[in-house]
Protein backbone atom coordinates (compact mmCIF):
# COMPACT_ATOMS: atom_id res chain seq x y z
CA UNK A 1 0.00 0.00 0.00
CA UNK A 2 1.22 3.50 -0.83
CA UNK A 3 1.77 5.27 2.47
CA UNK A 4 1.70 8.99 3.14
CA UNK A 5 2.91 8.72 6.72
CA UNK A 6 4.55 5.89 8.62
CA UNK A 7 5.50 6.22 12.28
CA UNK A 8 7.32 3.67 14.44
CA UNK A 9 7.89 3.89 18.18
CA UNK A 10 7.95 7.68 18.25
CA UNK A 11 8.83 9.32 21.57
CA UNK A 12 8.83 13.01 22.37
CA UNK A 13 9.45 14.66 25.73
CA UNK A 14 9.19 18.42 26.21
CA UNK A 15 11.86 20.35 28.05
CA UNK A 16 9.63 20.69 31.09
CA UNK A 17 9.51 16.88 31.33
CA UNK A 18 6.04 16.35 29.83
CA UNK A 19 6.08 13.08 27.91
CA UNK A 20 3.84 13.91 24.97
CA UNK A 21 4.53 10.85 22.81
CA UNK A 22 5.44 7.44 24.27
CA UNK A 23 5.94 4.98 21.49
CA UNK A 24 3.49 6.13 18.85
CA UNK A 25 3.18 3.80 15.85
CA UNK A 26 0.80 4.28 12.97
CA UNK A 27 0.50 4.41 9.20
CA UNK A 28 -1.66 6.57 6.99
CA UNK A 29 -2.40 5.61 3.36
CA UNK A 30 -2.02 8.22 0.61
CA UNK A 31 -5.18 10.06 -0.35
CA UNK A 32 -7.06 9.23 2.83
CA UNK A 33 -9.08 11.44 5.14
CA UNK A 34 -7.85 10.74 8.63
CA UNK A 35 -9.32 11.93 11.92
CA UNK A 36 -6.83 11.81 14.78
CA UNK A 37 -8.83 11.80 17.96
CA UNK A 38 -8.13 11.80 21.64
CA UNK A 39 -8.46 13.84 24.82
CA UNK A 40 -6.45 16.99 25.56
CA UNK A 41 -2.83 16.09 26.10
CA UNK A 42 -3.00 12.85 24.09
CA UNK A 43 -0.14 14.10 21.91
CA UNK A 44 -2.11 14.94 18.75
CA UNK A 45 -0.55 18.34 18.15
CA UNK A 46 2.93 17.10 19.05
CA UNK A 47 2.55 14.37 16.47
CA UNK A 48 1.44 16.82 13.77
CA UNK A 49 4.48 19.01 14.42
CA UNK A 50 6.69 16.03 13.54
CA UNK A 51 5.19 15.71 10.07
CA UNK A 52 7.14 18.58 8.53
CA UNK A 53 10.17 18.40 10.72
CA UNK A 54 9.35 21.23 13.14
CA UNK A 55 9.92 18.64 15.85
CA UNK A 56 12.45 15.92 15.11
CA UNK A 57 11.98 12.40 16.51
CA UNK A 58 13.82 11.98 19.81
CA UNK A 59 13.37 8.23 19.58
CA UNK A 60 11.73 6.11 16.88
CA UNK A 61 11.24 7.18 13.30
CA UNK A 62 8.81 9.06 11.10
CA UNK A 63 8.57 8.60 7.34
CA UNK A 64 6.61 11.07 5.25
CA UNK A 65 6.00 10.35 1.55
CA UNK A 66 8.88 7.91 1.60
CA UNK A 67 11.32 10.40 3.20
CA UNK A 68 12.80 9.94 6.63
CA UNK A 69 12.07 12.99 8.83
CA UNK A 70 15.37 14.45 10.06
CA UNK A 71 17.22 17.76 10.08
CA UNK A 72 18.28 17.25 6.46
CA UNK A 73 14.83 16.61 4.99
CA UNK A 74 12.99 19.12 7.21
CA UNK A 75 13.18 21.98 4.69
CA UNK A 76 11.92 19.89 1.81
CA UNK A 77 9.10 18.55 3.95
CA UNK A 78 7.88 22.06 4.81
CA UNK A 79 6.45 22.38 1.30
CA UNK A 80 5.19 18.79 1.09
CA UNK A 81 3.28 18.86 4.37
CA UNK A 82 1.09 21.86 5.16
CA UNK A 83 0.21 22.51 8.80
CA UNK A 84 -2.84 24.58 9.66
CA UNK A 85 -2.60 25.70 13.27
CA UNK A 86 -5.54 25.89 15.62
CA UNK A 87 -5.52 29.65 16.15
CA UNK A 88 -5.38 31.48 12.81
CA UNK A 89 -3.96 34.53 14.62
CA UNK A 90 -0.82 32.48 15.24
CA UNK A 91 -0.45 31.69 11.57
CA UNK A 92 -1.68 34.70 9.64
CA UNK A 93 0.84 37.40 10.52
CA UNK A 94 1.51 39.51 7.42
CA UNK A 95 0.11 43.01 6.92
CA UNK A 96 -2.15 41.94 4.06
CA UNK A 97 -4.01 38.75 3.20
CA UNK A 98 -2.24 38.56 -0.15
CA UNK A 99 1.23 38.85 1.36
CA UNK A 100 0.43 36.26 3.97
CA UNK A 101 -0.56 33.69 1.39
CA UNK A 102 2.55 34.58 -0.63
CA UNK A 103 4.78 34.00 2.42
CA UNK A 104 5.17 30.24 1.96
CA UNK A 105 5.71 30.23 -1.84
CA UNK A 106 8.30 33.03 -1.49
CA UNK A 107 10.13 30.99 1.14
CA UNK A 108 10.17 28.13 -1.35
CA UNK A 109 12.11 30.40 -3.68
CA UNK A 110 9.58 30.29 -6.51
CA UNK A 111 9.70 32.90 -9.32
CA UNK A 112 7.33 35.90 -8.86
CA UNK A 113 4.86 34.91 -11.63
CA UNK A 114 4.50 31.44 -10.15
CA UNK A 115 3.97 32.92 -6.67
CA UNK A 116 1.27 35.26 -7.99
CA UNK A 117 -0.48 32.37 -9.74
CA UNK A 118 -0.41 30.16 -6.66
CA UNK A 119 -1.64 32.92 -4.35
CA UNK A 120 -4.56 33.66 -6.64
CA UNK A 121 -5.49 30.01 -6.97
CA UNK A 122 -5.29 29.42 -3.22
CA UNK A 123 -7.32 32.52 -2.34
CA UNK A 124 -9.96 31.61 -4.93
CA UNK A 125 -10.11 28.07 -3.52
CA UNK A 126 -11.04 29.36 -0.06
CA UNK A 127 -13.20 32.22 -1.37
CA UNK A 128 -10.99 35.04 -0.02
CA UNK A 129 -9.70 36.57 -3.26
CA UNK A 130 -11.88 39.66 -2.82
CA UNK A 131 -10.29 40.30 0.57
CA UNK A 132 -6.70 40.11 -0.63
CA UNK A 133 -5.81 43.73 0.26
CA UNK A 134 -7.28 43.58 3.78
CA UNK A 135 -5.28 43.63 6.99
CA UNK A 136 -5.78 40.29 8.78
CA UNK A 137 -6.72 41.95 12.06
CA UNK A 138 -9.84 43.34 10.38
CA UNK A 139 -11.12 39.88 9.31
CA UNK A 140 -13.57 37.63 11.13
CA UNK A 141 -12.35 34.46 12.80
CA UNK A 142 -13.70 32.22 10.05
CA UNK A 143 -12.13 34.40 7.36
CA UNK A 144 -8.75 34.30 9.12
CA UNK A 145 -9.03 30.53 9.27
CA UNK A 146 -9.63 30.40 5.52
CA UNK A 147 -6.63 32.66 4.91
CA UNK A 148 -4.53 30.32 7.08
CA UNK A 149 -5.61 27.38 4.92
CA UNK A 150 -4.91 29.34 1.72
CA UNK A 151 -1.41 30.12 3.03
CA UNK A 152 -0.76 26.40 3.26
CA UNK A 153 -2.51 25.53 -0.02
CA UNK A 154 -0.33 27.97 -1.94
CA UNK A 155 2.68 25.82 -1.13
CA UNK A 156 1.08 22.93 -3.00
CA UNK A 157 1.40 20.32 -0.25
CA UNK A 158 0.57 16.65 -0.75
CA UNK A 159 -0.47 16.30 2.88
CA UNK A 160 -2.43 18.86 4.85
CA UNK A 161 -2.73 18.50 8.61
CA UNK A 162 -5.20 20.66 10.49
CA UNK A 163 -5.22 21.07 14.27
CA UNK A 164 -8.78 21.42 15.62
CA UNK A 165 -10.05 23.06 12.41
CA UNK A 166 -13.64 23.29 13.63
CA UNK A 167 -12.90 25.03 16.92
CA UNK A 168 -14.80 28.32 17.37
CA UNK A 169 -16.21 28.26 13.83
CA UNK A 170 -19.89 29.04 13.36
CA UNK A 171 -22.03 26.41 11.58
CA UNK A 172 -21.66 28.11 8.20
CA UNK A 173 -17.92 28.42 8.69
CA UNK A 174 -17.78 24.71 9.48
CA UNK A 175 -19.72 23.86 6.37
CA UNK A 176 -17.48 26.05 4.20
CA UNK A 177 -14.42 24.38 5.70
CA UNK A 178 -15.75 20.88 5.05
CA UNK A 179 -16.44 21.87 1.46
CA UNK A 180 -12.86 23.12 1.04
CA UNK A 181 -11.49 19.91 2.55
CA UNK A 182 -13.71 17.88 0.24
CA UNK A 183 -12.36 19.67 -2.82
CA UNK A 184 -8.78 19.18 -1.67
CA UNK A 185 -9.37 15.50 -1.10
CA UNK A 186 -10.82 15.16 -4.58
CA UNK A 187 -7.52 16.57 -5.88
CA UNK A 188 -5.70 13.70 -4.20
CA UNK A 189 -4.40 15.53 -1.12
CA UNK A 190 -4.06 13.42 2.03
CA UNK A 191 -5.86 15.21 4.84
CA UNK A 192 -5.22 14.75 8.56
CA UNK A 193 -7.44 16.39 11.11
CA UNK A 194 -6.75 16.40 14.85
CA UNK A 195 -10.04 16.94 16.63
CA UNK A 196 -12.32 16.15 19.59
CA UNK A 197 -15.37 16.60 17.40
CA UNK A 198 -16.70 13.04 17.08
CA UNK A 199 -19.64 14.04 14.91
CA UNK A 200 -17.36 15.70 12.39
CA UNK A 201 -14.94 12.75 12.45
CA UNK A 202 -17.74 10.19 12.04
CA UNK A 203 -19.28 12.04 9.11
CA UNK A 204 -16.11 13.07 7.31
CA UNK A 205 -13.21 10.67 7.89
CA UNK A 206 -12.46 7.38 6.18
CA UNK A 207 -9.80 6.49 8.77
CA UNK A 208 -9.88 7.11 12.49
CA UNK A 209 -6.90 7.00 14.82
CA UNK A 210 -7.66 7.25 18.52
CA UNK A 211 -4.75 8.39 20.68
CA UNK A 212 -4.28 8.34 24.42
CA UNK A 213 -1.28 9.28 26.53
CA UNK A 214 1.06 9.45 23.57
CA UNK A 215 0.15 6.11 22.03
CA UNK A 216 -2.42 4.75 19.61
CA UNK A 217 -5.37 3.30 21.45
CA UNK A 218 -7.22 2.09 18.37
CA UNK A 219 -7.28 2.69 14.64
CA UNK A 220 -9.54 1.67 11.81
CA UNK A 221 -12.80 2.71 10.20
CA UNK A 222 -15.01 5.42 11.64
CA UNK A 223 -17.28 2.65 13.02
CA UNK A 224 -14.79 2.56 15.90
CA UNK A 225 -16.44 5.72 17.12
CA UNK A 226 -19.68 3.80 17.75
CA UNK A 227 -17.94 1.49 20.26
CA UNK A 228 -18.83 2.82 23.66
CA UNK A 229 -16.01 1.14 25.61
CA UNK A 230 -13.35 2.59 23.31
CA UNK A 231 -14.82 6.04 23.12
CA UNK A 232 -15.17 6.17 26.88
CA UNK A 233 -11.59 5.09 27.43
CA UNK A 234 -10.38 7.78 25.05
CA UNK A 235 -12.23 10.49 26.94
CA UNK A 236 -14.51 11.19 23.96
CA UNK A 237 -18.25 10.86 23.57
CA UNK A 238 -20.35 8.81 21.17
CA UNK A 239 -21.53 10.58 18.02
CA UNK A 240 -24.97 12.11 18.48
CA UNK A 241 -26.53 9.71 15.96
CA UNK A 242 -25.12 6.71 17.80
CA UNK A 243 -26.39 8.02 21.13
CA UNK A 244 -29.93 8.08 19.78
CA UNK A 245 -29.73 4.49 18.53
CA UNK A 246 -28.09 3.33 21.78
CA UNK A 247 -31.24 4.48 23.52
CA UNK A 248 -33.40 2.38 21.14
CA UNK A 249 -32.34 -1.28 21.69
CA UNK A 250 -35.88 -2.37 20.67
CA UNK A 251 -34.94 -1.65 17.03
CA UNK A 252 -32.65 -4.72 17.23
CA UNK A 253 -30.17 -3.31 14.75
CA UNK A 254 -27.24 -5.46 13.61
CA UNK A 255 -24.91 -2.41 14.01
CA UNK A 256 -25.06 1.08 15.48
CA UNK A 257 -25.22 3.86 12.87
CA UNK A 258 -22.86 6.81 13.40
CA UNK A 259 -23.71 9.13 10.51
CA UNK A 260 -26.94 10.82 9.49
CA UNK A 261 -26.97 8.95 6.16
CA UNK A 262 -26.68 5.57 7.88
CA UNK A 263 -29.41 6.51 10.34
CA UNK A 264 -31.75 7.57 7.55
CA UNK A 265 -31.10 4.35 5.63
CA UNK A 266 -31.66 2.13 8.66
CA UNK A 267 -34.85 3.93 9.63
CA UNK A 268 -36.20 3.85 6.09
CA UNK A 269 -35.59 0.10 5.84
CA UNK A 270 -37.25 -0.39 9.19
CA UNK A 271 -40.26 1.68 8.14
CA UNK A 272 -40.60 -0.20 4.85
CA UNK A 273 -40.34 -3.55 6.61
CA UNK A 274 -43.02 -2.49 9.13
CA UNK A 275 -45.30 -1.30 6.33
CA UNK A 276 -44.90 -4.56 4.46
CA UNK A 277 -45.54 -6.52 7.64
CA UNK A 278 -48.67 -4.40 8.22
CA UNK A 279 -49.97 -5.15 4.70
CA UNK A 280 -49.25 -8.85 5.20
CA UNK A 281 -51.18 -8.77 8.48
CA UNK A 282 -54.28 -7.27 6.82
CA UNK A 283 -54.02 -9.64 3.86
Amino acid sequence: MDLAVEVEGLHYTYRDGTEALRGLSLSIPRGSRVAIMGPNGAGKSTFLLHLNGLYLPQKGRVQVLGREVNARTARELRSLVGLVFQDPDDQVFSPTVYEDVAFGPLNMGLPPEEVAGRVKEALLAVGMWDHRERHPSRLSYGQKKRVAIAGVLAMGPEIIALDEPMAYLDPQGKEALLEILGRLHARGVTILVATHDVDMAAAWADHVIIMKEGRVLARGEPSLLAREDLVREAGLGLPLVTRIFCALPELELPFLPYTCEQAVRVLREKLLADKNAGHAGIG
Partner: protein
Protein backbone atom coordinates in the same frame (compact mmCIF):
# COMPACT_ATOMS: atom_id res chain seq x y z
CA UNK B 1 -15.91 55.29 13.41
CA UNK B 2 -12.81 54.23 15.30
CA UNK B 3 -12.78 50.98 13.40
CA UNK B 4 -12.79 52.82 10.09
CA UNK B 5 -10.05 55.13 11.33
CA UNK B 6 -7.85 52.17 12.34
CA UNK B 7 -8.44 50.57 9.00
CA UNK B 8 -7.35 53.73 7.23
CA UNK B 9 -4.23 53.93 9.35
CA UNK B 10 -3.25 50.41 8.49
CA UNK B 11 -4.52 49.90 4.98
CA UNK B 12 -4.25 53.46 3.76
CA UNK B 13 -6.79 55.22 1.63
CA UNK B 14 -5.32 55.42 -1.84
CA UNK B 15 -6.90 57.95 -4.12
CA UNK B 16 -8.34 60.35 -1.54
CA UNK B 17 -6.04 63.21 -2.69
CA UNK B 18 -3.00 63.78 -4.95
CA UNK B 19 -0.83 63.32 -1.88
CA UNK B 20 -2.48 59.96 -1.15
CA UNK B 21 -1.83 58.89 -4.72
CA UNK B 22 1.82 59.95 -4.68
CA UNK B 23 4.36 57.13 -5.04
CA UNK B 24 5.17 56.05 -1.45
CA UNK B 25 8.97 55.93 -1.91
CA UNK B 26 9.17 59.41 -3.38
CA UNK B 27 6.83 60.73 -0.70
CA UNK B 28 8.87 59.11 2.08
CA UNK B 29 12.17 60.38 0.72
CA UNK B 30 10.79 63.87 0.01
CA UNK B 31 9.25 64.31 3.44
CA UNK B 32 12.37 62.90 5.14
CA UNK B 33 14.44 65.40 3.16
CA UNK B 34 12.01 68.13 4.15
CA UNK B 35 12.36 67.31 7.85
CA UNK B 36 16.17 67.17 7.72
CA UNK B 37 16.46 70.46 5.86
CA UNK B 38 13.75 72.23 7.84
CA UNK B 39 15.12 71.25 11.24
CA UNK B 40 18.45 72.76 10.25
CA UNK B 41 16.76 76.15 9.81
CA UNK B 42 17.83 78.60 12.50
CA UNK B 43 15.22 81.36 12.48
CA UNK B 44 11.78 81.18 13.96
CA UNK B 45 10.16 82.85 10.97
CA UNK B 46 11.40 80.29 8.49
CA UNK B 47 10.43 77.41 10.77
CA UNK B 48 6.95 78.84 11.12
CA UNK B 49 6.76 79.16 7.33
CA UNK B 50 7.79 75.49 6.98
CA UNK B 51 5.09 74.46 9.48
CA UNK B 52 2.51 76.52 7.61
CA UNK B 53 3.47 74.83 4.35
CA UNK B 54 2.97 71.39 5.97
CA UNK B 55 -0.35 72.48 7.44
CA UNK B 56 -1.47 73.60 3.99
CA UNK B 57 -0.43 70.24 2.55
CA UNK B 58 -2.35 68.44 5.32
CA UNK B 59 -5.36 70.60 4.52
CA UNK B 60 -5.02 69.76 0.82
CA UNK B 61 -4.86 66.06 1.69
CA UNK B 62 -8.10 66.51 3.68
CA UNK B 63 -6.58 65.14 6.87
CA UNK B 64 -8.71 65.42 9.96
CA UNK B 65 -7.58 68.26 12.22
CA UNK B 66 -8.75 66.51 15.39
CA UNK B 67 -6.54 63.48 14.72
CA UNK B 68 -3.62 65.78 14.04
CA UNK B 69 -4.13 67.58 17.34
CA UNK B 70 -4.56 64.22 19.09
CA UNK B 71 -1.21 63.05 17.74
CA UNK B 72 0.58 66.26 18.60
CA UNK B 73 -0.77 66.01 22.15
CA UNK B 74 0.76 62.53 22.36
CA UNK B 75 4.22 64.03 21.95
CA UNK B 76 3.56 66.92 24.33
CA UNK B 77 4.71 65.22 27.57
CA UNK B 78 8.16 64.65 26.07
CA UNK B 79 8.70 67.85 24.15
CA UNK B 80 6.68 70.07 26.48
CA UNK B 81 8.76 69.15 29.51
CA UNK B 82 12.03 69.97 27.80
CA UNK B 83 10.67 73.22 26.38
CA UNK B 84 9.40 74.16 29.82
CA UNK B 85 12.75 73.51 31.50
CA UNK B 86 15.05 75.05 28.90
CA UNK B 87 14.35 78.75 29.72
CA UNK B 88 15.23 78.11 33.37
CA UNK B 89 18.43 76.14 32.89
CA UNK B 90 20.05 78.05 30.01
CA UNK B 91 22.43 80.75 31.24
CA UNK B 92 22.06 84.19 29.72
CA UNK B 93 20.33 87.55 30.06
CA UNK B 94 17.55 87.23 32.62
CA UNK B 95 14.22 88.70 31.60
CA UNK B 96 12.19 87.47 34.56
CA UNK B 97 13.33 86.53 38.05
CA UNK B 98 11.65 85.04 41.09
CA UNK B 99 13.24 84.70 44.49
CA UNK B 100 11.70 82.85 47.41
CA UNK B 101 13.89 82.06 50.42
CA UNK B 102 16.81 79.96 49.22
CA UNK B 103 15.42 79.35 45.79
CA UNK B 104 15.91 81.75 42.93
CA UNK B 105 14.51 81.13 39.45
CA UNK B 106 15.37 83.09 36.34
CA UNK B 107 14.13 82.87 32.77
CA UNK B 108 16.81 83.72 30.23
CA UNK B 109 16.24 85.17 26.77
CA UNK B 110 18.63 82.61 25.28
CA UNK B 111 16.67 79.82 26.96
CA UNK B 112 13.37 81.08 25.55
CA UNK B 113 14.92 81.23 22.09
CA UNK B 114 16.21 77.71 22.35
CA UNK B 115 12.91 76.39 23.68
CA UNK B 116 10.86 78.03 20.94
CA UNK B 117 13.24 76.80 18.23
CA UNK B 118 13.17 73.26 19.61
CA UNK B 119 9.40 73.32 19.88
CA UNK B 120 9.01 74.53 16.29
CA UNK B 121 11.47 71.95 14.94
CA UNK B 122 9.63 69.11 16.67
CA UNK B 123 6.34 70.52 15.41
CA UNK B 124 7.63 70.51 11.83
CA UNK B 125 8.92 66.94 12.16
CA UNK B 126 5.65 65.71 13.67
CA UNK B 127 3.55 67.44 11.02
CA UNK B 128 5.61 65.84 8.27
CA UNK B 129 5.44 62.41 9.92
CA UNK B 130 1.69 62.67 10.38
CA UNK B 131 1.30 63.70 6.77
CA UNK B 132 3.36 60.73 5.60
CA UNK B 133 1.67 58.07 7.74
CA UNK B 134 -1.87 59.36 7.29
CA UNK B 135 -1.66 59.60 3.51
CA UNK B 136 0.28 56.37 2.92
CA UNK B 137 -1.00 53.72 5.35
CA UNK B 138 1.33 51.42 7.24
CA UNK B 139 1.36 48.66 4.63
CA UNK B 140 2.53 50.83 1.73
CA UNK B 141 4.83 52.82 3.97
CA UNK B 142 6.74 49.71 5.07
CA UNK B 143 7.03 48.50 1.52
CA UNK B 144 8.50 51.86 0.57
CA UNK B 145 10.94 51.79 3.49
CA UNK B 146 12.03 48.27 2.59
CA UNK B 147 12.59 49.28 -1.00
CA UNK B 148 14.60 52.29 0.22
CA UNK B 149 16.95 49.92 1.99
CA UNK B 150 15.74 49.86 5.62
CA UNK B 151 16.76 46.43 7.03
CA UNK B 152 14.00 43.81 6.74
CA UNK B 153 14.25 42.53 10.29
CA UNK B 154 13.63 46.03 11.62
CA UNK B 155 10.52 46.50 9.49
CA UNK B 156 9.27 43.04 10.34
CA UNK B 157 9.43 43.91 14.04
CA UNK B 158 7.24 46.97 13.49
CA UNK B 159 4.88 45.09 11.19
CA UNK B 160 4.41 42.28 13.68
CA UNK B 161 3.80 44.82 16.43
CA UNK B 162 1.04 46.44 14.40
CA UNK B 163 -0.41 43.07 13.49
CA UNK B 164 -0.54 41.77 17.05
CA UNK B 165 -1.36 44.91 18.95
CA UNK B 166 -5.01 44.34 17.99
CA UNK B 167 -4.88 40.70 19.07
CA UNK B 168 -3.36 41.71 22.41
CA UNK B 169 -5.89 44.47 22.91
CA UNK B 170 -8.70 41.99 22.27
CA UNK B 171 -7.11 39.57 24.72
CA UNK B 172 -6.84 42.30 27.34
CA UNK B 173 -10.48 43.20 26.74
CA UNK B 174 -11.57 39.60 27.24
CA UNK B 175 -9.51 39.31 30.44
CA UNK B 176 -11.10 42.50 31.77
CA UNK B 177 -14.56 41.26 30.88
CA UNK B 178 -13.94 37.91 32.57
CA UNK B 179 -12.87 39.74 35.72
CA UNK B 180 -15.88 42.00 35.66
CA UNK B 181 -18.10 38.94 35.14
CA UNK B 182 -16.84 37.62 38.48
CA UNK B 183 -17.68 40.85 40.22
CA UNK B 184 -14.37 42.72 40.14
CA UNK B 185 -14.81 46.47 40.32
CA UNK B 186 -11.63 48.50 39.79
CA UNK B 187 -10.94 51.16 42.41
CA UNK B 188 -11.24 54.82 41.57
CA UNK B 189 -7.52 55.40 41.27
CA UNK B 190 -4.36 53.48 40.53
CA UNK B 191 -3.16 53.70 44.10
CA UNK B 192 -6.00 51.61 45.41
CA UNK B 193 -4.14 48.46 46.48
CA UNK B 194 -6.50 45.95 44.90
CA UNK B 195 -6.59 47.79 41.57
CA UNK B 196 -2.85 48.04 41.53
CA UNK B 197 -2.27 44.33 42.15
CA UNK B 198 -4.97 43.52 39.60
CA UNK B 199 -3.21 45.65 37.01
CA UNK B 200 0.06 43.89 37.79
CA UNK B 201 -1.52 40.48 37.33
CA UNK B 202 -3.10 41.52 34.03
CA UNK B 203 0.17 42.82 32.67
CA UNK B 204 1.89 39.63 33.82
CA UNK B 205 -0.75 37.38 32.26
CA UNK B 206 -0.65 39.39 29.05
CA UNK B 207 3.13 39.11 28.96
CA UNK B 208 3.05 35.32 29.40
CA UNK B 209 0.30 34.94 26.80
CA UNK B 210 2.12 37.11 24.31
CA UNK B 211 5.30 35.19 24.84
CA UNK B 212 3.54 31.86 24.26
CA UNK B 213 1.82 33.30 21.21
CA UNK B 214 5.18 34.48 19.93
CA UNK B 215 6.45 30.91 20.15
CA UNK B 216 3.43 29.61 18.24
CA UNK B 217 3.75 32.29 15.57
CA UNK B 218 7.39 31.41 15.09
CA UNK B 219 6.55 27.70 14.74
CA UNK B 220 3.84 28.53 12.22
CA UNK B 221 6.29 30.65 10.24
CA UNK B 222 8.85 27.85 10.26
CA UNK B 223 6.15 25.47 9.07
CA UNK B 224 5.84 27.59 5.95
CA UNK B 225 9.56 27.53 5.30
CA UNK B 226 10.63 30.78 7.04
CA UNK B 227 14.39 31.21 7.07
CA UNK B 228 15.07 34.81 8.10
CA UNK B 229 13.73 38.27 7.36
CA UNK B 230 12.48 38.89 3.82
CA UNK B 231 14.56 40.72 1.23
CA UNK B 232 13.90 44.12 -0.32
CA UNK B 233 10.42 44.79 -1.63
CA UNK B 234 10.38 45.36 -5.37
CA UNK B 235 8.38 48.32 -6.57
CA UNK B 236 8.03 49.73 -10.08
CA UNK B 237 10.06 52.92 -10.71
CA UNK B 238 8.24 56.15 -9.77
CA UNK B 239 6.69 58.32 -12.50
CA UNK B 240 7.93 61.78 -13.42
CA UNK B 241 4.85 63.42 -11.91
CA UNK B 242 5.71 61.85 -8.51
CA UNK B 243 9.31 63.01 -8.80
CA UNK B 244 8.16 66.54 -9.62
CA UNK B 245 5.94 66.60 -6.54
CA UNK B 246 8.83 65.33 -4.43
CA UNK B 247 11.07 68.07 -5.79
CA UNK B 248 8.47 70.70 -4.90
CA UNK B 249 8.28 69.42 -1.32
CA UNK B 250 12.06 69.43 -0.86
CA UNK B 251 12.49 72.81 -2.56
CA UNK B 252 10.46 74.64 0.11
CA UNK B 253 12.98 74.24 2.98
CA UNK B 254 15.80 74.80 0.50
CA UNK B 255 14.28 78.17 -0.42
CA UNK B 256 13.89 78.96 3.28
CA UNK B 257 17.60 78.22 3.77
CA UNK B 258 18.47 80.53 0.91
CA UNK B 259 16.30 83.21 2.49
CA UNK B 260 18.03 82.75 5.83
CA UNK B 261 21.53 82.74 4.42
CA UNK B 262 21.01 85.88 2.45
CA UNK B 263 18.80 87.78 4.83
CA UNK B 264 21.11 90.79 4.96
CA UNK B 265 21.61 90.63 1.24
CA UNK B 266 17.86 90.46 0.66
CA UNK B 267 17.30 93.40 2.90
CA UNK B 268 19.97 95.38 1.04
CA UNK B 269 18.47 94.39 -2.31
CA UNK B 270 15.06 95.45 -1.10
CA UNK B 271 16.40 98.87 -0.23
Amino acid sequence: MEDLWLREQVEGHPGASPLHRMEPRVKTAALAGFVILATLLSSRTSLILAAIFLLLLSRAARLSLSHLVFRLLGALPFVGLVCLLLPFVTPGEAIWRWTGGFVSLAVSREGLDRASLLGLRVLVALLALNLLVATTGAVRLFKALSSLGVPGIFLQLIELTIRYIFVMAEELGRMRQARAARGFVPGRHLFCRRTFSDLGQMVGALFVRSWLRGERIYLAMLARGYAGAPGKALLPPPGSRDLAWGAVIVSIPLCLHLLEAGREAWILLWK
